[in-house]
């Protein structure tokens, strides 16, 4: 049977430079890219759609300048996209509430990555499932659908378990689930023809999260780079011996 799938996408900075003196990150002029784990979620959504039919909608809580990331997801095969503007910094509580407003009704499956590469909180899947009052399948590495049921293999630290759940459900995917397809540039351009809704989030003035400080941990690394492998190995051994 066809499924109506919502896939949640996050855009992250391509490279963040750290100012060595202040240890603060600098994002000026840095491009956005689709978070790697979001790619896996989009890929899985497209595969489910290709196999069972239905519709896959990409939903992103982000910013104006991240529209290319959504286009890329559309080029991968999503049918439409919704970009909710208003994201400023990692606030899982707020993000979950804003996304919840979009996915609370109408979807059989809500797919997303288990944790994003930048803030790494892993809070969105459980928060969303709790808000929606539906089952959560976390860290899925394999999915199969049968009517109103989903059977998933979850990857745990040392073993994997097979679980079964009714739909609708929130499913967070692990990187092992698939190898995402990479759309060529011309397909990304062509995806500008696909429906993409831009909306504004209703961000309350007061939120639970506040960033006090945003710094890279001070590095105690010596950062000695040897380009000649043979000499380098000797030098490294010497230094290691000196340090005991």
């Amino acid at each position: 049977m066809p499924y109506n799938i919502a896939v949640l996408i996050k855009a992250v900075y391509e490279d963040v430079k750290i100012n060595p003196e202040t240890l603060e990150p600098s994002t000026a002029g840095v491009k956005f890219k689709m978070d790697d784990i979001s790619r896996n979620a989009v890929e899985e959504a497209v595969r489910i759609k290709e196999k069972h039919g239905g519709k896959a909608t990409g939903i992103m809580f982000g910013r104006d300048d991240q529209v290319l990331v959504m286009r890329e997801a559309l080029a991968m095969g999503l049918d439409e996209g919704v970009l909710i503007k208003g994201y400023s910094y990692s606030d899982p509580e707020l993000t979950a509430r804003i996304l919840y407003e979009k996915v609370k009704t109408g979807y059989d499956v809500v797919l997303l990555g288990y944790s994003s590469a930048d803030s790494y909180t892993a809070q969105i899947p459980p928060r969303l499932a709790a808000l929606m009052g539906v089952p959560l399948i976390g860290n899925a590495v394999q999915l199969s659908f049968d009517g109103r049921k989903v059977i998933a293999v979850k990857s745990l630290d040392e073993r994997s378990v097979k679980v079964e759940s009714e739909l609708p459900a929130v499913i967070s995917v692990a990187q092992e689930i698939n190898t995402p397809r990479i759309p060529p540039l011309i397909q990304i351009m062509a995806a500008s023809r696909k429906p993409l809704k831009m909306e504004s989030a209703n961000v309350p003035a007061e939120t639970y999260y506040r960033i006090i400080e945003h710094k890279a941990p001070p590095s105690s690394r010596k950062k000695i780079i040897f380009e000649d492998v043979n000499k380098g190995v000797e030098e490294i051994l010497k230094i290691l011996k000196q340090k005991g």
Binding site: K33, T179, P180, R181, I182, L185
Partner: protein, 662 residues
């Protein structure tokens, strides 16, 4: 015995008017049938007869080169010389027979117009001898050709094989019947007087044909000849005509890939739904489809293919012949070609340069890749390259910030600091990110400094991305063009006059492919650094000191085969050291295994292409291998480490030269 009245007796012993009528009616029917069948054959590929003739005749400027190949038969004789020689003999004997027939016709017309025939006297005797030799040559070569054709029965379609054999045997029949006719005529007219000249007549003197038999053989001979002409377009003997079309159709260098769309126009028009690549046989249309039909499965491409020799699942011969076989059936090419076959190719171009009928195998391969990219059907490694290219605009997936900051320490200026750039040193992805390739750049910059010309050079730094070669050869045409458009903008901004590249791949793509993206680019000169080193030595700015080392040069495909740069590296090395040549060198070099984006992924294989090449170079007994490409450098260094424990040194030409100058 030689008298002026000794002339070719046309229609000897036959009713002249009736036979003239037979000949001219048959000839007209034959020519009409030829064009009718040619039209049918071309129509099957969607090509008009007029269009075909226009292509062939309007490109007359390309004829001399074609004629040279045809006369020398160089592509056929350089490999598989036995079948090549048979082909040459067959082709020449047909040509000589045609000249004989034309002489007869010319003589007839001159007699009609001036009253004197021209095919007389010593010319007549001489050409009679030629024709007698030709008859034997035609007979032997056509029978040999049948043997060669039969040997390839596995790969040739049965119906086509039968037709080919019948056709070839008809040639032998032509030579036999021709000799029979001659023997009747000569023996009746002159007996054995010209036994040494018309030796076939002498040999066949015992045949004693009756007049009826002679007339019948005569008619059979001429009708068979006309029938063979008429049927050319319907048999594989059509291949030389397709070869002519393949040769004259376009002048594109072998290093330049086709351009399936123009990204700039696509962006302006907003219609992104372009058909790219070959997914089904029906995607191969027109001349591109006809091109395939020239293939006669001679295996010359397979013989030189590094992928095939390494045991990868690619034979360019099988690839082309399978496309040829399936072209009339609309089917996904993936029904009969595996993806690994398509990915096995290093785009080295050895097959293209070997093909006697000018098929460009790599066009089909890259087009198949383009379809896989459009359908997003790449595996992890290739996807990783695509992602690096799309996220970072370079093949290493690393930030372009500070990619060349180490160059400032070497004393090279940055383009943004000097605004106008005379000579731009394009460092390339390898030169920027690969530590060993950085040494190549370092050595070259050092040479520029020692030569006192470093101030006329600059580099881009973080503005440098990728030339786009890996994207294009992986099949991601849109990213290639996107990068090219951006790069050309940067070159324009700095008023760049000359681009000097470290990598032959960048050299090739700038030189041959960028002008097709933006016509204004053709004003920029593109050089490979070996050319610059050569110029500096010639100008006396640097002087390498004599060395006792023995070198062997490994020529990069994209420098030497695709772009013909063979001499500079040789003259540089010879000027101060001993140079040995490997089995395959210069334009016939053998790939290191990295080209065509192969550096970034793996294909199932029995042995590594780089190992095959390393052994060839090692066999020369040279102590060092000279490379001129950062990819060759990486591949052969690895091979040397595995196969010789690093005993055979792999050195870049910049390193070799820099070490030899003070």
């Amino acid at each position: 015995m030689l008298t002026a009245s000794l002339c070719y007796p046309e229609y000897y012993g036959l009713p002249r008017t009736a036979f003239m009528a037979i000949v001219y009616v048959s000839a007209s029917v034959s020519v009409l049938a030829f064009f009718y069948m040619l039209r049918l054959r071309l129509k099957a590929r969607g090509i008009g007869l007029l269009e075909f003739l226009k292509i062939i005749f309007l490109n007359y400027r390309r004829w001399p080169g074609l004629l040279y190949d045809f006369i020398t038969h160089r592509r056929l004789l350089s490999q598989r010389s036995a079948s090549g020689a048979a082909h040459a003999v067959l082709m020449y004997s047909l040509l000589l027979s045609l000249i004989g027939t034309l002489l007869v016709a010319a003589s007839q017309y001159s007699e009609l117009i001036t009253g004197t025939p021209i095919f007389c006297g010593s010319l007549y005797l001489f050409y009679t001898f030629v024709m007698d030799v030709t008859a034997w040559a035609l007979f032997i070569s056509s029978v040999t050709a049948v043997v060669f054709a039969y040997r390839r029965r596995e790969i040739i379609q049965r119906s086509s094989l039968t037709a080919d054999i019948i056709y070839l045997l008809s040639f032998s029949l032509l030579s036999i019947t021709g000799a029979m006719i001659e023997s009747y005529r000569i023996n009746a007219l002159y007996g054995t007087s010209f036994g040494y000249i018309a030796f076939n007549a002498y040999l066949l003197r015992g045949l004693r044909l009756s007049w009826e038999a002679y007339a019948a053989v005569y008619i059979f001979h001429l009708e068979l000849a006309f029938a063979l002409i008429a049927f050319i377009p319907m048999t594989s003997i059509f291949h030389p005509l397709i070869a002519v079309a393949n040769y004259v159709r376009e002048e594109r260098p072998t290093g330049e890939l086709t351009k399936p769309f123009d990204l700039m126009s696509v962006m302006q028009s907003g219609s992104f739904e372009v058909q790219v690549g070959i997914n089904r046989t029906s995607d191969i249309k027109g001349f591109y489809a006809l091109e395939l039909e020239a293939c006669q499965n001679c295996y010359r491409c397979q013989d030189v293919c590094p992928a095939h020799l390494a045991g990868r699942p690619l034979s360019p011969t099988t690839l082309i012949s399978s496309l040829q076989r399936e072209i009339n059936r609309d089917a996904p090419i993936w029904d009969f070609i595996s993806e690994d076959t398509i990915w096995s190719c290093t785009t080295c171009g050895a097959c293209v340069k070997a093909c006697p009928v000018y098929i460009r195998h790599t066009d089909y391969i890259v087009d198949a890749r383009r379809a896989l990219v459009m359908n997003m059907k790449l595996d992890e490694r290739k996807n990783a390259l695509l992602l690096s290219m799309s996220s970072y605009d370079n093949s290493f997936g690393m930030s372009n910030d500070n990619r060349n900051s180490w160059l400032s320490e070497a004393g090279l200026k940055k383009a943004s600091e000097i605004r106008m750039v005379e000579n731009l040193l394009w460092i390339g992805c390898m030169g920027s990110f690969d530590p060993e390739a950085r040494d190549i750049v370092r050595n070259f910059v050092e040479i520029l400094r020692k030569a006192g010309v470093i101030d006329s050079y600059a580099y881009l730094g973080e503005e440098e991305t990728c030339c786009g070669d890996p994207a294009r050869r992986l099949g991601e045409e849109s990213k290639f063009q996107d990068l090219a458009i951006k790069n050309i903008e940067i070159f324009k901004k700095y008023g760049v006059k000359t681009i000097v590249t470290i990598c032959p791949h960048g050299f090739n793509t700038f030189k041959n492919e960028y002008p097709k993206i933006d016509g204004s680019f053709s004003g920029i000169k593109v050089k490979h650094y070996v050319e610059v080193i050569k110029e500096l030595i010639d100008a006396g700015r640097i002087k390498p000191e004599a060395s006792k080392e023995v070198f062997v040069i490994h020529d990069p495909c994209y420098l030497s085969r695709h772009n013909g740069i063979v001499e500079p590296q040789r003259s540089i090395i010879r000027s101060f050291a001993e140079l040995r040549e490997p089995r395959r060198s210069g334009g016939n070099t053998f790939c290191c295994g990295a080209g065509g984006s192969n550096y970034w992924y793996e294909v199932p294989e029995k042995t590594k292409i780089s190992h095959i090449r390393f052994r060839e170079l090692q066999d020369t007994g040279a102590s060092s291998i000279v490379v001129l490409c950062p990819f060759c450098n990486a591949m052969l260094n690895d091979a040397s480490a595995v196969l010789s424990d690093g005993k055979v040194k792999v050195k870049d030409i910049a390193e070799v030269v820099n070490e030899s100058i003070k």
